[in-house]
Every structure is written in structure tokens, then in C-alpha cells.
Symmetry: C2
Subunit: 350 residues, 2 copies
């Protein structure tokens, strides 16, 4: 899934260059490319499909030249994750009705990828033996308020449990309680299921959405697919897969996993997941010189020299046409700034 | 005089674009152009001469297209102000031995220009009646430690006094004493004299320097001038006019003046001389948005959007290929930074 906007990383993420296309770690690979690299040992390349907004087709082709154009599904409108996943399921089902799927965001960070590989393999094994909607639950390491939590129920197999409840973004106190009980895991938004299981669930819990795609049954994975999507996709309700299916279905399971994971939802999470120098500064390019400055995260174009003195715990993000300087603790402010920028400049800097 | 480097305004001032060529106030006119505009009511345009380093000839021609190439004196080397002024005096003397001169830096700020005009007119009147080396002394408004001070002696005419001593950059306590006595004025580095008086003084107090130029007497203001300078200018001692002449001569006078003046020697002085918004921020372009930020000075290219939150009393200078963020109180640090930049990048960002 590669259609998000990621406005919280403004000014690096932009409407025409969202977070998933950015090389946030200065490794030479964007988050999308890192996601592709991570999936490649698990899925045959010709079975990797990208679903994105049509405005990003050139970026996808540029960043993932390995992916054939026929495997890039281009949404004409933004309709959240449920229609995106439904389309992918119908498309894959038209090619192979017995297929299993893994659904993954393209803008998250996963460390310890060998553990990830083992988890996914075990997850596939599970969903091929059960009519199961499986989500990966991350062992929480802190009372994070920005994530969704999964409460676990009965253990079916070692590390594979029934889901009891989902809770979106609890407050700090509740998040701490969640952690203390040992019953809650972070919802990574990575799902495994068979095409059959997810289509069944869509029919049962999101019949309006299923009806849109059922109308095109004989057109997926054919030359008529684009035209069908063009005419029908915008008729989908805009709804997340969590809300449409996962929170309602009774065959939802969680695989409790322990690889490093971050949704990189904020500058702070990028800071937390990046290598810091002795002064606690994160610098994505070599070209940053700091004096009496601690706890900052600096991003700038490769050739830009940044010299900073006497600033602490700030985001300094030079994105070419925009410079943002903002305390890390204040990054919620960025949404306010974006509104102000839109008032002054329309979409020019967004 | 237009040959300085002005490294304290880095990264805006650069080796190939020093301070005098910058539009520091966002008025559309550089400091050099502002200086030209200020002099124009006083001196016939064909009598305005620019002395600069040869590397800046294109900048001069671009910024002052009114000035004929024959009136731009191009120094092949940097030799401080005495050789610069000596050359100008010999050049002007070759055209008109009876001429009077005003010598002015091209990178200072003068406000209340009508007072300036009156002062200069009175100064010319004085030096045409006396064999006098006249400097303009600014009524000091604070115990500034970055300026030179002139101690006044006997009053010759109203507002025109003999100079008793020069003192370069006193410490804070001494500067305060200077102010309290009422006997000290800031040395603006603006001089008036006749060609005859300055040449006499050069012969007397800087005979080595005078000898260099005496050797070319019949070549100034001729086609042979460039060749003569090419062959001889580098042989001049590198010395300031203050040290070579003003601090030694016994016919030095000061005209005590009261127009607004700053040498714009630091980012802080630019801040002090710029219009501030309600939060005490100085923003040179329209394109700066501030949140919970006070006392800063922002410079950025016209099209760059700068969004700053939670920073106070800083210099934020985005010069395209370099971004500097530094507390105003810490700007002496800039020299250290420049050394570090040179070690890492040679002259690339200087």
C-alpha cells in the first residue's frame, strides 16, 4: 500500500512526494524501496503488487523499475485502506483464487528483518490452515499514544492468538495500563490472509464495498480492469480495513512478533529510530556541522551545508523550497502550520 | 572603497559576493548601491570613483552600470585601505590637482541622509580652507566595543574639532567611560581632504607607500595606469589609512555629526538597524512564518518559505547552499565556524 500522504513529515513529505518515497535514513533507499527489499525474500517478484494513487505512478516506476506496470494498481481517488485492499484481493483472486496475501504499508520501518521473515512464514502457514484474518502485533516497548493496540485472547498455537479487542490511540495512562497487563500489542497494520478469507469477510462486514468489486468480477487482471476501476472505484466508501473488517469479524487473529517496528508517524519517531551522534543529534547527510547543539534532527539536501549553534531538541528540515525549524516536542504544531501555509500560498509549498 | 570581504555576514557574504554587494535590508538596493545613491546629491556622477578588488569588477558593473569602466580602480591584491586611498588620491590628482575628496566605505548604513548631506558640505568647506585631514565622528549612543573611538580636542569652528587620540575597540568598561566623558566619538571611517593634503601626509607619514605611487606620477588617469598598478600595487605595504596616517598626523580634525550610522559589522548590528515585527523578529523577505519565536533575524532567498517555531534571539540565514542557525549572542563563533568549514570543504562554501 503506497498511496498515503504522510503530511506529518512536511516539509520533506509533500503532496507530490509523500513519506514512502523519501530516503529518510540517508541510506540511498526510500521507505518504499526498503519495504520492497524486505518483502523480496518472501514473495516472488512477479507476485508483488503496489497499490497507490495514480498521481504517484511515475515515482513508483522510478523507484521500483523491477515492478511491471501491470502490477501497479492506480487508484483514481483516495478511499482509505479497505477499498485499496479489496481491489488488490479481487485482482489477485482473478489470477489465482487460492492465493494467500500479505498486506503491508510501504512507509514503516522494520528492523531485525530475519525475525520478520520467520514471522511472515509462520503467519502464511497459519492462514493456509485456518480461515483467519491475521494481523501482526508488535511487542510494545513503551506506552506510545500514537499507535493502535490489540488485546489478545485465547492462544491457538504458540505465538498465534485470537484477537479480543482493538483500541486506537489510547491516552498515556491507558497505554501504560495496556503495557502493564501484558495483554496488549501494537497493531502494525500488516495483514495476512487468503484471498478467499478476506473476500468472505468483505461480503459479510462491508457488503457495500464488496458489491462495488463484485460488479467487476470478470474484469480484474484483464485489459478491462483500468476502465472498470475508473468507473467504479470512486463509488467505494472511504473506510479503513480496521474499521470495515478487523474490528467486526470474529475470525481475527494476531501473531505476536518481536522485530523492531515503527510506523515513522512523526519526526520524533524518525529521531528515535535513527543513529545519533555523541551530542544526540541525528544528521541525515554528512554536511551538518553542530556547535553546542543537542537532541536535534537535521535533514537537508545532500549538497547543503548546515551549520547550527546553540539549538536543542529541534527539527531542522530544509527541503529546498521550505525550511522548517520546530521543537521536536511541538511537532503537533506542524498541522497548524500547514493550514496557515495553505491560507497564504494555496498548495504551493504543500 | 568597495574591496572588503565582510566575512562576518557569512553565509550571506561570500568571498565572491561580499557584504557591500548584498541587499541586506530587502530594499532592492545593495549597500554599495545605497552608498552610491547617498553620494550622488553631493558629487557629480563623473567624479565618483570605485576602488575595489579586481575580482569584483563584474559585480560593480552590474550593480552600478552608471559608472564608467575608467572610474573603477581595480586592485590586483588586497592591501587594506591606505594603498587604496593613496591610489585614488594620485588618480584624482592626475585629473585635477586642486580636487577635494570624500572617502567612504561602501558597506555601511547611514540614516537621516539629509543631515549627512549637510555635514559633508560643511566638511568640504572646512578642508578647502584648511590643510586638514577630516574624519566624521558619530555621536555615540551606546558603549559599543566593536568601533574605533576618536577623542576630541580643541574646537576650531562649531562642530569641527582637533582630534586628540584614536582608540580601537575598547572593552565595555572603557567604552562606557568614553561615553560618560562626552569627549569621544565613533570613527565612521569617512574622510574628507584635498588631494594635496592627503598626498602631503602620505609623503610624511607613509613614505614607502608614497614612493610606490610617486614612481607612476605621469601614468595615473592615462592608458598606462593599469599596467603601472599591475606592476607596482602589490609592492605596497598592507596597512590601514588610520594606522598609516590618521593616528600619526598632527593636522587631523573631526566633524562631530549626528546622523544615524552603523558599520553593519555583525548580524546583530543588522538586527538593530532593521524593522522588527511585534515579536521582535526581523524578516528580510515576506516568506517567513514564525510561531512562538522572538528576537530572531531571518534571511532567506525570496522564494524560500521559512517556518520557525520556538526559537529565540537567533540568526537564521539561509543562503541557498548554506544554512546557518546561531544565537545572535554567539556570532563571534562564526569565525570559528568558517575555519572549520575551510578545513572540511576548502573554499567551497566560503
Amino acid at each position: 500500500m503506497c498511496g498515503g500522504i504522510g503530511s506529518r513529515f512536511w516539509p520533506y513529505s509533500r503532496a507530490n512526494m509523500p513519506k514512502q518515497f523519501l530516503d529518510l535514513f540517508g541510506t540511498g533507499r526510500s521507505l518504499l524501496q526498503m519495504t520492497y527489499d524486505r518483502i523480496l525474500p518472501l514473495i516472488r517478484p512477479e507476485n508483488i503488487i503496489v497499490v497507490t494513487n495514480r498521481q504517484y505512478v511515475d515515482l513508483i516506476c522510478e523507484q521500483l523499475p523491477e515492478i511491471d506496470r501491470s502490477r501497479i494498481l492506480l487508484e483514481p481517488d483516495r478511499r482509505n485502506t479497505a477499498p485499496c485492499i479489496a481491489w488488490a484481493a479481487y485482482h489477485i483472486g482473478a489470477i489465482d483464487p487460492q492465493a494467500s496475501m500479505i498486506v503491508t504499508p510501504s512507509d514503516h520501518l522494520i528492523t531485525r528483518e530475519s525475525i520478520f521473515e520467520n514471522c511472515v512464514a509462520r503467519g502464511f502457514d497459519f492462514i493456509e490452515r485456518h480461515d483467519a484474518l491475521l494481523t501482526l502485533g508488535i511487542n510494545p516497548t513503551r506506552p506510545e499514544t500514537g499507535y493502535g493496540y490489540i488485546q489478545i485472547g485465547r492462544e491457538i498455537e504458540p505465538g498465534l492468538l485470537k484477537v479480543k479487542t482493538f483500541t486506537e490511540k489510547p491516552n498515556k495512562e491507558l497505554a501504560q495500563v495496556f503495557i502493564d497487563t501484558g495483554e496488549f500489542f501494537w497493531n502494525a497494520g500488516i495483514f495476512l490472509w487468503t484471498v478467499k478469507s478476506i473476500k468472505d469477510a468483505l461480503h459479510h462486514y462491508a457488503p457495500d464495498l464488496a458489491a462495488v468489486f463484485d460488479a467487476g468480477t470478470n474484469r480484474f487482471a484483464t485489459e478491462g480492469e483500468d476502465e472498470f476501476i475508473e468507473q467504479n472505484f470512486s463509488g467505494c466508501p472511504s473506510i479503513s480495513i480496521d474499521f470495515a473488517v478487523m474490528e467486526k469479524a470474529d475470525n481475527v487473529y494476531v501473531e505476536c512478533v518481536n522485530f523492531g517496528w515503527s510506523d515513522l508517524g512523526t519526526w520524533g519517531s524518525l529521531y528515535d529510530n535513527s543513529r545519533r551522534d555523541d551530542n544526540g543529534n541525528v544528521t541525515v547527510t554528512d554536511n551538518i556541522m553542530t556547535y553546542n547543539s543537542t537532541g536535534n534532527i537535521f535533514m537537508a539536501p545532500e549538497n547543503k551545508l548546515v551549520v547550527a549553534s546553540g539549538i536543542h531538541d529541534c527539527i531542522v528540515a530544509d527541503a529546498g523550497d521550505v525550511l522548517l525549524i520546530c521543537p521536536k516536542s511541538d511537532e503537533q504544531q506542524i498541522k497548524v502550520m500547514l493550514t496557515d501555509v495553505r491560507i497564504r500560498h494555496d498548495n504551493k509549498y504543500l
